[in-house]
């Protein structure tokens, strides 16, 4: 029996030794660990970790790796989520050794719908926008309406989108929006668009009259394509997009279209929080 014991212990020791030596040898033979990995792990501690993709990298760790190789990435393609957090940005800046300027004008999301289209069908399927749009062209009268199930709210890494339950429509809070564009990709009706954060107004409707759907009307507040806004604009703030049959506000020029907003019979041109006003009637960031 003692032979067995010795044998067992010897075998275990032998295998253990071989394994240990193998690990040691492999450790020596392999090229050294890429230093950027270690640095990337350190940088990642300062990032929000939401993996939203707004920076253009596939996730926070990838961004950290890119930043480890080239510090300037933090300024060139900044982490949008971090930009909202002043303290966090400062800490990252301290770690990397330079000031990160986050005051650059970014983009914000707007939903081109006010949700007033009446519900024409009782929908009992999967409660996501992606599913609901495939059933009979949507359960709202307007074929381009926001269905309000919140696919966009679910993907927003900044929790900037809420659903207005009464009108069953998505609402973007510009205070929180970081302009990452996840909602734009998610909306199955392409109702969300990224516009410059200093854009003063946008259209709350996406009814593409050129692609009319038979027997489906727009809602009672949507754009009626009357072109009064174009006529009212003196300096060409509003032009007409013939393809969509909707007014067009040039994001390059970002002109304030005060007259158009007033003249619109449906009042469907909505002000953003960047609209220059003495008195803020609506709370900032409302659509």
């Amino acid at each position: 029996m003692s032979v067995q014991t010795i044998l067992a212990v010897a075998l275990l020791t032998l295998v253990g030794l071989i394994a240990g030596i193998a690990i040691f040898v492999v450790n020596r033979l392999l090229p050294k660990e890429d230093e950027s990995l270690q640095k990337a792990a350190e940088i990642k501690e300062y990032l929000p970790g939401a993996d939203c993709g707004a920076c253009g990298q596939p996730g926070c760790f990838a961004y950290a790796q890119a930043a480890a190789k080239d510090k300037e990435i933090v300024v060139k393609t900044p982490c949008r989520l971090l930009a909202q957090d002043e303290e966090g940005t400062k800490r990252l800046g301290e770690y990397l050794g330079f000031d990160i300027d986050t005051t650059q004008i970014g983009q914000k999301a707007v939903v081109h719908c006010t949700g007033d289209s009446p519900v024409i069908g009782a929908y009992g399927g999967i409660t996501t926008c992606g599913a609901a749009v495939q059933v009979g062209g949507g359960f709202k009268e307007c074929p381009y309406a926001c269905l309000g199930f919140g696919d966009c709210a679910a993907v927003c890494p900044a929790d900037a989108i809420t659903i207005d339950a009464a009108r069953q429509v998505a609402v973007v809070d510009w205070e929180k929006c970081i302009g990452c564009g996840m909602c734009v990709k998610t909306c199955p009706r392409s109702l969300i668009e990224l516009i410059p954060a200093d854009m003063p107004q946008y259209l709350g409707c996406n009814y593409l009259a050129a692609k009319d759907v038979a027997e489906r009307k727009k809602c009672s507040v949507g754009c009626i394509h009357c072109r009064l806004c174009v006529k009212a604009s003196e300096d060409g703030e509003v032009t007409w997009n013939d393809e969509k049959d909707l007014p067009f506000f040039d994001p390059e020029k970002k002109m304030v279209a005060a007259a158009a907003i007033e003249k619109c019979p449906r009042s469907i041109i909505l002000k953003t929080s960047a609209y220059p006003q003495e008195e803020e009637v609506s709370s900032g960031g409302d659509q």
């Binding site: 067992a8 275990l12 295998v15 394994a19 492999v26 050294k32 890429d34 990995l37 409660t127 996501t128």
Partner: protein, 192 residues
Amino acid sequence: MSELVAIFFGMALVNNMVLSKFLGLCPFFGVSKNLSNAFSMGVAVLLVMFVASAVTWPLFHVLLVPYGAEYMRTVIFILVIASLVQIIEMTIKRTNLTLYNALGIYLPLITTNCAVLGITFINIDSAYSFPQSIAAALGAGLGFTLVLVIMSGIRERLDLADTPKAFRGAPIAFITAMFLGLAFLAFGGMVG
């Protein structure tokens, strides 16, 4: 050759690691929420299964059997597998960062995965020869990956469905596994 193919498909489909032998359940329910994660995990497991089988079979027959120490296999195998995983992880980490990002993080999880230890035991218990062991390992790994991928696809959809509150998450996943297992029963006569 045909028996190798039979063993391969047997391990992959008929005696599927997860659905039939209950091995590897932890990653099956843990990592299967997301398709790309599931695929990465599956490939990592396949790799480790292959290497582990290739190393433990000769070790068993050359070192343990001649000295009548078959009972040592539990300790020896697990030691070998742990070391192998360590070596594989080191190698991938230092030679191919992209691959490491893709599946490197799953490797430490595989050390205590019963599927890997299980396949090494199965190879011995079924008295397979070396080529047969390799075929079995490859089949088992691929079967594991297959089921993991299918499960993650289903679970991604399940997340959207209107499940009763008590069933959300693990319970409905188990019941789904039952249906998956039932479906795989159809492969029963395949390797007759």
